[in-house]
């Protein structure tokens, strides 16, 4: 009881200090007003192929402001998946399924703040996920600094094909805090932190682990808590070109530690072309209970290669072309992206020949984007 009172007191003091700081900075900022996101429409065709998995489909986004105070966004996303991954071909049968995702969100602007509330639902025959989020961004310090904080809550229902009696749930919480800072007339940076918490059925009802060479259903803890921090720096290089670098560190209670490094370069060509290129490197250590082939009986065991020790390197490019532009009315662009990624697993073997597994993946996107 005393500990609870002390914790409440500490929170009150921290909130008061934060409120005081924000109030002081807002006083300096003066009477400015944040802008609503621009009216926008996007039509995307996306395709992924790699590791025996093909996934493709269309996606649509429409955003429109109403009375200059609220902006509504609707999205639809379809994934048609054909799965013959290494897990599937060595321990199960290839399958096809379709995922539909619908999203609706509203942005509201009050003075220098933007408040976003969103709802999303994702439906597969054996997995339903419902997600809600609330995010706030606040410009301070004369518009040079933007503070963002938000919360996501998701609830999933997990089912299994041909086994109607199997049904379980997974709940997810995400809390985030970020800051974007203008450094100079050409450079800006951002720092983001996110805490993630999962509870419930976090395994796959189809995947099997190996213990003493025998296949057993995987057993995964029902809780997981992670922390991620990401830093980004973006700079105008002065010749109609720009660069960006980023780094993210992630750690969680399953003992996964991951580093992600990104670098990108963008440049305009003539009046109508914009090209981007990017390189990404990702590496992680495996979860405590991951094993390619366990040699002792443990409470938890998994052979999910997503939880193993591996790295990947990706190289990509994007090209945008101004199809039509009528200043003050609309702007229409045609875009194409491609990324090649190579995965190398350190402790996940191909059961067919015993060698360490690895694969290459390709992501292709073709899309139209319009602002109006």
């Amino acid at each position: 009881m005393a500990a609870t009172k002390a914790a409440i007191g500490l929170w009150r003091r921290l909130l008061a200090l934060f409120g005081g700081l924000l109030g002081g900075l807002l006083g300096v900022a003066g009477a400015r007003a944040a802008d609503l996101p621009e009216n926008k429409a996007e039509t995307l065709f996306h395709a992924y192929t790699g590791g025996g998995v093909d996934a493709y489909g269309p996606a649509f986004l429409v955003r429109k402001s109403i009375f200059d105070k609220v902006s509504l966004t609707g999205t639809y996303y379809l994934d048609a998946v054909s799965n013959a991954s290494i897990d599937v071909v060595t321990t199960a049968s290839p399958y096809k399924e379709t995922r539909h995702e619908f999203g609706l969100s509203a942005d509201y602007v009050y003075r220098d703040a933007q408040i976003t509330f969103g709802l999303m639902t994702s439906n597969e025959p054996d997995y339903v996920a419902n997600t809600g989020n609330l995010d706030v961004t606040q410009e301070v310090f004369g518009g040079m600094t933007t503070i963002a904080f938000g919360f996501t809550r998701a609830s999933d229902t997990v089912k299994k094909h041909n086994e109607p009696e199997f049904k379980d749930n997974a709940d997810h919480w995400q809390y985030r805090l970020g800051i974007t800072q203008i450094l100079t007339t050409r450079w800006l940076m951002s720092a983001n932190f996110e805490a993630l918490s999962d509870e419930g059925y976090l395994a796959s009802p189809y995947r099997v682990a190996r213990v003493f060479g025998a296949a057993v259903p995987e057993r995964t803890p029902r809780t997981r808590t992670g922390r991620a921090v990401k830093l980004r720096l973006v700079g105008d290089l002065g010749n109609r070109d720009a660069m960006n670098v980023g780094y993210r560190y992630f750690t969680d209670t399953w003992n996964i530690k991951a580093h992600t490094a990104e670098i990108g370069y963008s440049r305009y060509f003539g009046e109508n072309w914009l090209a981007d290129s990017f390189f990404r490197y990702y590496t992680q250590t495996g979860a405590l209970f991951y094993s390619d082939n366990a040699t002792s009986e443990t409470l938890f065991v998994s052979r999910n290669r997503q939880l193993s020790t591996f790295n990947n390197m990706g190289l990509g490019a994007k090209l945008s072309y101004n199809l039509r532009r009528v200043p003050g009315r609309y702007d229409l662009k045609l875009n194409g992206s491609y990324e090649y990624t190579r995965f190398k697993f350190k402790d996940f073997t191909d059961l067919r020949d015993g060698s360490l597994y690895g694969y290459a993946s390709n992501v292709i996107q073709v899309y139209l984007s319009a602002t109006y």
């Binding site: 700081l21 996110e194 963008s266 990702y282």
Partner: protein, 81 residues
């Protein structure tokens, strides 16, 4: 220190940072004025230009890697892995 006195201290500290301070104390003003931010407002400088394709890249990574979060994109749950 009470919550109210902390709030006052915070407001004073922020005011000092922001330039509403007493004349003898050096102050920090926003050093990049709104009219100097033209380059920063160019689409080439945006952390994310188009929501759907960036969300797709994020989705492709989240279902294949152990790490998540702090990217600024809203991910929904799925049984994709």
């Amino acid at each position: 220190m009470t919550a109210r006195s902390l709030a006052v201290a915070g407001a004073i500290a922020a005011s000092l940072l922001g330039g509403c301070a007493m004349p003898s104390v050096p102050t920090i003003q926003p050093w990049v004025k709104p009219y100097e931010r033209e380059r920063l407002g160019d689409p080439i400088m945006k952390l994310s230009r188009d929501a759907l394709p960036d969300k797709h890249f994020e989705h492709v990574r989240v279902v294949r890697e152990g790490a998540r979060g702090a990217t600024g994109f809203q991910g929904g749950g799925c049984g994709c892995n």
